[in-house]
């Protein structure tokens, strides 16, 4: 097709410049496409984009809100990054986050008032991570024991988790529901001792936990023997098997850690800004946005942090657009477009495209590099 005019050859290892340039160009391309679309539909792109920047970074309060939105995305981003790195297609971050919130709120409510913060806070937060890991296990165990494709099971578990969470607060009088909210069902607040302190407007200490988890994940994958073996499995399960790596155990471990990270996102929301399991504030697609974050960060857990801030900024800018009569869905559209360009950009990281074939047939030499 294009082979007559363009020559494609595998790059082998791409330079840092290319791996940085491609994600940045992906964002710019999505913004350009968005601008064209806004202009066609009769909106002024300049006004929209300046409004978005102002809403996301214009004041110390808006910077704080952007970081508040970024915190769970760092964790769902790490969850997707470590799983995808190993070709474990956990697209259930959404459900694992929600179950994390259910577990965290459940722990807080069970502890009740009078528990010291030194006990309550770690218990609430860790229970959420355990919840996320258990929800991931529902897909991980069949995958490892029976070879069941995890794409569909993780996906379906998202909807089961959503309905379960809604049932606990909106559909029943469970312990998760605030008994004082008779007219409009709400989550029951967890004790103050289980809450993360705020330090910058509404921003709480959860962001430090999220950043620490991202760094820990980077160290684990990049600097330990365990992480090395995970990367070998991601490159080639056959090679890993020949090298004597216990592939099923690696898959299980990564899957559960991925679920725990997503579950932690849920518990940080409960222990942080929400203070309760509030179904309406949790059903925001944070798990799916985490997949965008991971892809744009090229599955690097540390790069997830700045990318999550960018996506958090976009999420925060959405509602502000309504004040200038622009649909908040602009933001979802832009995020989708960013992901489309980012995933397409992987081609340009893996391959070099030239106008004519090089003098020496390097393509043949580097054949196996993809």
């Amino acid at each position: 097709m294009t082979a007559r005019r363009l020559h494609v050859e595998p790059r082998g290892l791409a330079s840092t410049r290319v791996t940085l340039l491609v994600p940045i160009l992906s964002v710019l391309a999505a913004l350009a496409l968005g601008a064209a679309f806004l202009a066609v539909t009769g909106n002024n792109p300049w006004n929209v984009y300046t409004k978005m920047i102002d809403a996301a970074f214009g004041s110390s309060r808006s910077v704080s809100e952007t970081l508040v939105s970024a915190t769970p995305l760092m964790l769902t981003g790490v969850a997707a990054a470590i799983a995808f790195k190993m070709l474990v297609w956990n697209i259930g971050g959404e459900g694992q986050l929600l179950i994390g919130a259910v577990f965290a709120a459940g722990a807080g409510i069970a502890l009740g008032d009078g528990t010291p913060a030194a006990v309550a806070l770690p218990v609430v937060i860790l229970t959420g991570a355990v919840g996320g890991a258990l929800w991931a296990a529902l897909s991980a165990v069949p995958r490892v024991m029976l070879g069941t494709n995890e794409i569909i099971t993780t996906l379906m578990l998202n909807f089961i988790a959503l309905n379960l969470m809604n049932y606990l607060v909106l559909g029943s009088f469970s312990p998760w529901r605030d008994p004082n909210s008779t007219q409009f069902p709400q989550g029951r607040p967890i004790p103050e001792a289980g809450r993360l302190p705020e330090f910058f407007h509404r921003l709480d200490w959860g962001i430090f936990i999220a950043v620490a988890v991202a760094i820990a994940a980077w160290l684990l994958i990049g600097k330990t023997r365990w992480g090395f073996e995970v990367r070998v499995v991601g490159d080639s399960a056959d090679t890993a098997r020949y090298a004597g790596i216990a592939v099923p155990r690696k898959i299980m471990g990564v899957f559960l850690l991925s679920g725990a990270a997503a579950g932690l996102a849920g518990s940080l929301l409960v222990a942080g800004i929400l203070g309760k399991m509030d179904p309406r504030s949790l059903d925001l697609g944070l798990g799916f946005t985490g997949i965008i974050v991971a892809a744009l960060a090229r599955l690097n857990p540390v790069a997830v942090v700045p990318v999550a801030v960018l996506m958090g900024a976009l999420n925060n800018a959405g509602p502000a657009l309504q004040s200038i009569s622009v649909p908040s869905a602009t933001v979802t559209m832009l995020q989708g477009a960013i992901l489309i360009f980012a995933v397409a950009g992987e081609f340009f990281i893996a391959n070099r495209v030239r106008r004519r074939p090089p003098a020496t047939p390097t393509a043949l030499v580097e054949e196996g590099a993809t």
Partner: protein, 314 residues
């Protein structure tokens, strides 16, 4: 007789199942070519809004259907380009398509004045027959009481089944999904076959979306299709990549969607949220029981599903 719980439930199941029939069939055709497209939800939403918009502007249902199919097909080209030409991750590309399509549909529904959102439909698909044979007991409503698109869905399922298993082009399609290298060696243009069938799948997903906005929901709302696109992806597996089974599976899920109401009429109280889980729980159980390990091949999963094909790597 026609007012019995069974007839009412079955009739509703066919109505609620029809958009999923179209979308599931579209994904079956796409996957038969060896391409996994997780963008069904996005393509359905864009189809739904395009169909609603075109019919709202023109008052013509046929134009709405055509607009929805074109919109779905155009969106699917993005996925085709990523997964066939660029050969990047089909899973992430499909999710990208869903996110983009969801944003695009809600944007179109809310931009301009007056915005589409909240607007009632000017025309909707209505049952073709309302008396005569449609009044016969049981078979009257269940066979003769539907709108045109339900009959179209039956025709399309029959045509797709014939195409897949009884034509040379269908054989070529299955060869491309099973063993693209051999198909290529036999002179088949693998990329072209894949592009065409991804686009057919997109058009059918768009049509399924339009069934929501032109038949089931008589006004435009944000996200009018629920999780139908994701259910369709699960049903492809339950239907083991076969069109007639897709029809059956979609109706079963339509019935599950109706169960809440049915239980109420029977005086049984089951929480709506728990009922809403049933389709997804069934899909997971079916996944585990039917498709684990080697059984997936026996079921008919295309061997090259999700694997990009590059001629150099032969």
């Amino acid at each position: 007789m026609n007012e019995s719980t069974f007839v009412l439930t079955a009739f509703a199941a066919i109505g609620l199942g029809t958009p999923i029939v179209f979308a599931t069939l579209g994904e079956i055709i796409t996957e038969r070519a060896g391409v996994l497209n997780l963008g069904v939800q996005g393509m359905m939403l864009v189809g739904a809004v395009s169909g609603f918009w075109a019919t709202f502007k023109t008052g013509n249902l046929l134009l709405g259907v055509v607009a929805a199919m074109i919109a779905g097909a155009v969106l699917s080209v993005i996925h085709a380009f990523s997964s066939i030409t660029l050969r990047v991750s089909q899973i992430v590309s499909g999710i990208a398509l869903t996110l983009f399509g969801t944003g695009l549909a809600n944007f179109i529904g809310r931009t301009g004045t007056p915005a589409l959102v909240g607007q009632p439909s000017r025309v909707t698909f209505e049952p073709l027959l309302t008396s005569g044979i449609a009044d016969w007991p049981v078979v009257g409503p269940l066979v003769f009481g539907h709108d045109a698109l339900v009959y179209v869905s039956w025709l399309v399922i029959a045509a797709a089944s014939y195409y897949l298993f009884h034509t040379k082009m269908g054989l070529t399609l299955r060869a491309v999904g099973e063993d693209p290298a051999s198909a290529d060696a036999a002179g088949v243009e693998v990329a072209r076959v894949r592009y065409v069938h991804v686009m057919v799948g997109g058009a059918l997903a768009g049509l399924g979306g339009a069934y929501f906005s032109l038949a089931l929901v008589p006004s435009w709302q944000d996200d009018p299709i629920g999780a139908a696109g994701w259910i369709a992806i699960a049903l492809v597996i339950l239907a083991s990549w076969r069109p007639w089974r897709a029809l059956l599976a979609a109706y079963l899920f339509g019935a599950a969607g109706r169960l809440n109401f049915t239980f109420q009429t029977l005086g049984v109280s089951v929480p709506a949220n728990l009922l809403a889980m049933i389709p997804f729980i069934l899909a997971i159980i079916a996944m585990i029981v039917l498709t684990s390990g080697k059984r997936a091949r026996l079921l008919g999963a295309p061997a090259a599903l999700g694997i990009p094909y590059a001629r150099e790597q032969r």
